[in-house]
Amino acid sequence: MLFNTITFAVFSPIVFLLYWFVFQRNLKLQNFFIVVASYVFYGWWDWRFLLLIAFTSLCSWVCGLLIQHTDNQQDKQLFSRKFISISNIVLNLGILGIFKYYNFFVESFISAFASIGINLQLHTLKLILPIGISFYTFQALSYSIDVYKRKIEPTKDIVAFFAYIGFFPLLVAGPIERATNLLPQFYKKRTFDYKNAVDGVRQILWGLFKKIVVADNCATYVNTIFENPQDQTGSALLLGAVFFAFQIYGDFSGYSDIAIGVARLFGINAMRNFAYPYFSRDIAEFWRRWHISLTTWFRDYVYIPLGGSRVSKAKIVRNTFIIFLVSGFWHGANCTFIVWGAFHALLFLPLILFNQNRKYTNTVAEGRNFPNIKEIFQMGVTFLLVVIGWVFFRADSIEMAFEYFIDMIDRSLIYLPPTDRIRIFKCLFFVLCMLSVEWIQRGKQHGLETFGFGWNKYLRYFFYLTLAFIILIVNLRGRGHDFIYFQF
């Protein structure tokens, strides 16, 4: 069930009303209702996916209990804490590996051996990739690791745990929640907070705008360009790459805003996932602001255990490459994602080696309306580097990405593309609208948190109504583009 569909527009109010008016009196029942609603939401795609998520949830829950059990039996331990925890990690990563990476490895082996004249007879599997598998697997892993590290007490409440893994707003594309933040919220009685709910609705509205109006409009242009790059002029290729940057941002940050906003309507506070990454002044700042829940996950569960940056220079280089390559590979079984990760590792390395990676931790142009020349230059260069990375991310193959760059460097780069001009101006208009609002709100959690608060009350409501109307008209197709990150 997609957030931008009529089905969800019917589903969510029903769940909301039942949640607060029928099931609120009993916490266990309310949590159970969350699990049921979440499984309906997820099973809408394919009911077979439910078996997998239930299995993942059950294994991680049992793992937590087993770890607790070994703690209670100080003298005689059948299995060590470490063994149980590692078993669960292997199991979860094994499932992820089979569904997401098995065919990639088999095909890579076959082509590698074929290049030296050996024909391997290996079979690929015909498996459907369950939507959001990387997201909920990482959420389950976070629980097992945190229990092992004694950051959180293992839960005996299976319903609360299933709600933690399956909570529908966050289920298919995050933010990837930590057990330490989300699980305790299912232990406590939730109360309806009017201000939080109203701000949640504003956040949903802004997320829908970014997804439906900005990302989907950019997508139609970007798809045309990337489907036939060989037929495009240099400037069309450049615009295709730039619009893809805004498409993926509008798509994913829009999804995150909707997810966080919906969660707030149910009295659950999810972690932030984006903090205006295109206003970053260097790559390190970009990575503190882009897909925060995944970046911090890798930082806490991979980078720091490897020694982080408090090791020798050689190991810093190794750790940086590992984290970026793993991050790239997390996105999918394709070399393009690995190259994208490696490219960012190369950009990040000089900053971390010269201790410049935490230079910009504040908001850009803090206390001012406009950035200065230096900041504009820094943001422009960072954005350009990010766009280069996105071409690898979006291309079907590495060869295609390189050809894309070669074809871009052409005399036609300085001329406006001869076709699709109306579509280009439409995309530019919506992107500029989004950037303007977000620039004004760059110190806030989301684009509409306080936007228009200085205006007359009715004018502000009119603005919200207009925004909703534009979203409705643009989304009348009712079958908007899928969210890009679902495939991961």
């Binding site: 037929d231 109307f469 197709r477 009712g478």
Partner: protein
Amino acid sequence: MKKFILKLLLFVSLLILLFGLFLLFLFLPSTPRASKSLLFAEIKKDSLLIATPSTRIVFVGGSNLSFGVNCQLIKDSLKINPINTAIHAGIGIKYMLEKTLKYIKKGDIIVFVPEYEHFYSDWNIGSPELLRTVIEVNNRSNVNLLSKKQLYNCFSYIGIFILSKFNPFEYINIEENDVYGVNSFNEYGDVDAHWNLENRHDEITSNTIDITGYNPEVIVEIRQIMDKLQEKGCIFLVSYPCFQETSFNNSIEAIKKVEEDLKNNTFKILGTPERYMMSDSLMFDTVYHLNKQGLERRTKLLIEDLKTVLHGIN
């Protein structure tokens, strides 16, 4: 909570009200630019279907036909009266066939030539062009020909459709397009406006049809309409569109799938996909639109195939 729900309901009600008011603009007359578009040629083509005497050969399909045959050559060669009803592939094959059914007479030969894309995704049920055709060209008189799925699909284009009426460029500097205009057709319904024009190869972007989007419902729909036409005493023939060679080679798997399914459904078929694959140099401005030289070659092939099949039937 109560306050929140009431405010939200008020907001949603205002939004619905605003949308209702917006829908009223659906009844605005078509813009001057839209009135000159080729979609309005349907009025003339419907008159041809009413007035042309038997024995008739009726061509139904997308612009691969309107830009791809010379009916005069067919008339001279086969001595039957041709009518080219094709306008735009975006109208969708379901509407094209259902509407033709309205005017069909006993003994008519129907030659149906869909584009390959009609078999993929849900393009068969129509796109924004169908909405404009139904609302503006036919003044809503053919709405009853649409299925629920088509109505829902048309509804999804209403936003873009109404907004186009507020586009200032729809009202100023109106000149009929030299090729895509209401008057670009000859007395049989072929587009002849481009016959003496230079090729526009720089406007051609080659296609790649992805086999994964194959829609098996399309064949079922064609079969259903074929049964209705045969009940009326018509001969129903299917053929393959003229398709640019580069795009053909890019989409070979998808084309083979269409060919295989048409054969398996025992349609009477004219030619093969390869036969109607056309060299890139014979295209005019898209991968389906032939230039004069190309359309004459295609017509020649079509005549040969028609002679073979019709001889077999008789």
